[in-house]
């Protein structure tokens, strides 16, 4: 009996060990959860900061072109707000003050300066030449800052850097981002995460504007069988392929549609087509093709011709190509309807063409069917030349100007003259109200290596 006494301490020890292990596991799980939550907070602050700085850059460049004082004053108010928001977001990122002192100073200056300019322009006196020069300088600095942040972002999104790691050796922080990208290894890390130079062009008026009812759709309700036939007529067909369509369900809401799934037999690269066919009037509202595009072989111009033909074949006359963007191996073309010679920006269709074989892999006409109708447009009270005189004298290579209908608020459309002009390397679109001569909208066109341009 006495011999086995030693078993007790071992049993107690094992129990203890199990207890500690259990406790430790719980600790580990909660620590990981806490770390993830913290990391998400850092990420939020960082991405918001990125957004702020980007907005600041675009607004600063617009301020160089704007002429109208009350437009300017709004712009400066927003700049001031953005710089405040940027400061608060920067403050939440785990970096030492020393490494971001320069950035904070810049944000402070910019905020104070735009505040004073906002007050000045709200009082009716426009900015003078010195102030313009200062703005130009601030714009260049904002560009640099934006570039630096973007470098950090690419390390973040490719997973070579996490923000909680920044905390560990925060001395290096933003200063480190430049050299990291300069490292040639870094460039091959992830093809998927490569730069997508695209256009944020706060438009032209491409955001969804929440209309209440679609005014473009007329006619009676279609049945699901009819919707299936409509979808089969709409697609591009490959020879020797059968297409099987199924109504997969309905989508309620503002623009009710049948969702139709189409599978081609034989399929290419797991190709599957999904389509929305409006239950009223039976129009195809959108189409998505899941095929993964191969390497680009087509020129953008050729793809543009395909997109144009695609629309023509489906009964869209008088559509005009407004701009395009290239993303990886697809090109997205924007078309707007025209009436007379006036371009109607609210009535938009987007056609996505795959650049490997020219197949149309995406089609989005939701905006078109929400807005399109025959409109009675007002007679312009200004001539193009009169409107042009309202532009900033600093703009160069200004186009002669054309009439365009642009959305201002949800149900308010404005007839305006559209001018394209250049300041340094930046291209702008300026819209002057054709009735009142007011500057209603100022857009910046962002061109990139992938040749995004307004057509």
């Amino acid at each position: 009996m006495r011999k086995y006494r030693w078993i007790f301490p071992i049993a107690v020890g094992i129990l203890l060990l199990a207890g500690v292990g259990f406790w430790g596991y719980g600790q580990m799980v909660s620590r990981q959860a806490a770390e993830t939550a913290l990391n998400n907070k850092y990420n939020l602050a960082f991405y918001n900061l990125l957004n702020n700085v980007q907005n600041m850059e675009v607004m600063l460049s617009k301020s160089l072109v704007g002429e109208e004082t009350h437009q300017d004053s709004q712009l400066f108010m927003r700049l001031w707000q953005e710089s405040l928001a940027a400061q608060s977001n920067l403050g939440q990122i785990p970096v030492t003050e020393a490494s971001v002192a320069r950035t904070i100073k810049f944000l402070n200056q910019l905020g104070a300066y735009s505040q004073s300019l906002a007050a000045q322009t709200a009082g009716g006196s426009s900015k003078n030449d010195d102030q313009w020069q200062t703005l130009n300088k601030l714009y260049k600095q904002a560009q640099t800052l934006n570039g630096e942040l973007r470098n950090v972002e690419s390390s973040l999104s490719s997973g070579t850097l996490t923000l909680s790691e920044l905390k560990r050796d925060s001395r290096y922080v933003l200063r480190r981002a430049g050299p990291q990208l300069a490292n040639s290894n870094f460039q091959v890390i992830d093809r998927n995460m490569q730069q997508y130079p695209t256009l944020i062009y706060d438009g032209p008026f491409s955001d969804h504007i929440a209309r209440k009812t679609p005014v473009g759709l007329e006619g009676s309700q279609v049945s699901s069988d009819q919707a299936r036939d409509i979808s089969l007529k709409f697609i591009e067909r490959r020879p020797n392929t059968t297409y099987i369509a199924n109504v997969a369900g309905t989508v309620n809401g503002r623009l009710p549609v049948y969702r139709v799934d189409i599978s081609p037999r034989p399929a290419q690269n797991g190709e599957k087509i999904t389509m929305g066919v409006s239950s009223r009037g039976g129009k195809v509202v959108w189409m998505l093709n899941s095929r993964s595009p191969g390497t680009a072989a087509l020129k953008v111009r050729e793809a543009g011709d395909i997109a144009g033909r695609f629309l023509e074949d489906r009964g869209f006359k008088d559509m005009e190509s407004t701009y395009y963007e290239v993303r990886d191996a697809v090109a997205v073309f924007n078309y707007a309807a025209t009436q007379g010679k006036i371009i109607l920006y609210p009535d938009q269709i987007k056609v996505t063409v795959s650049l490997d074989n020219g197949q149309v892999v995406g089609y989005d006409a939701a905006n078109y069917w929400m807005a399109h109708r025959a409109r009675t447009l007002p007679q312009p009270r200004l001539t193009a030349a009169e409107a042009r005189a309202k532009l900033s004298p600093r703009l160069e290579d200004v186009t002669p100007g054309r009439l365009a209908l642009i959305p201002k608020t949800v149900d308010n459309e404005v007839l305006a003259y559209e001018f394209q002009g250049r300041l340094d390397k930046d291209v702008f679109l300026v819209y002057i109200d054709a009735l009142t001569g007011e500057e209603v909208k100022l857009l910046k066109v962002i061109k990139t290596n992938n040749g995004v341009l307004t057509m």
């Binding site: 301490p9 991405y47 973007r150 972002e153 070579t160 300069a182 955001d207 999904t274 905006n367």
Partner: protein, 236 residues
């Protein structure tokens, strides 16, 4: 006799405990120059796994645990890159992975490298990660739909107005709360994110989605259901 044995046993158990704790916590305090080997765990391992996965060496889960599969993948990588295939991620392997342990060397070459103009690449990447986390097994249309919900939220008054704000809103997306969204992004998710950003919305303006086969808050069913795509119900 008995006392001695008991003390000995306690000492052994104690030593085991202490060394266990040390091993456990050891990984996290160190930086990137850590040497990783079979049995290591932590964010550094995740990083290596993610890289090797992208380059096609590693097919297992990116879970931060250095297991046999990771070991093999590292060996393959080392062979391809002319390193000794010991399956240990040391300074040389780190360097070949594009993450040199010595960071100081790069400071001299600092350049501002300002990329001109704005882009929405950051939004596309963020969105693609959440789509991958929430809808990796869904169809292409189902992925675009999840992206569209996030974008619709930015337009809705009831949610933050930036994409990052919506995504990192506390407990808005399960995959973000549990860190799943840092997984490598598939090509399809990336294309879906691009489609959603360029305006596709197969949901007709949904701002909620959920999986009805999982326990969800009963309140959510009071929303107007718009449609179901795959395993997700979309509502506003």
């Amino acid at each position: 006799m008995y006392l001695r044995r008991a003390i000995k046993t306690f000492l052994i158990i104690g030593a085991l405990l202490v060394s266990g704790m040390v091993i456990w916590r050891g990984g996290e305090a160190l930086g990137q120059s850590t040497v990783l080997y079979w049995g290591s765990s932590g964010p550094e391992v995740t990083k290596v796994q993610a890289l090797l996965n992208r380059w096609g060496y590693y097919t297992g889960p990116v879970d931060g645990y250095y297991s046999g599969k990771t070991f093999k993948a590292v060996q393959d990588f080392q062979r391809k890159n002319g390193l000794a295939p010991d399956g240990v991620v040391g300074p040389n392997t780190w360097a070949s992975l594009g993450l040199p342990a010595v960071r100081q060397s790069a400071y001299g070459t600092y350049s501002s490298g300002a990329s001109r103009g704005a882009s929405d690449r950051d939004s596309v990447n963020l969105l693609a990660r959440v789509i991958e986390g929430e809808a990796a097994d869904e169809s292409y249309a189902g992925k675009v739909a999840v992206g569209a919900v996030i974008l619709n939220r930015t337009q809705s008054g009831a949610f933050p107005s930036s994409i990052a704000g919506v995504i990192f809103q506390p407990s808005a997306f399960e995959s973000v709360s549990n860190g799943q969204y840092t997984r490598p992004v598939s090509d399809e998710s990336l294309r879906a994110a691009q489609a959603a950003i360029s305006g596709f919305d197969p949901t007709n303006g949904a701002i909620f989605f959920w999986n009805p086969y999982k326990p969800v808050n009963a309140w959510i069913w009071s929303r107007q259901v718009l449609t179901q795509i795959g395993r997700h119900i979309f509502a506003r």
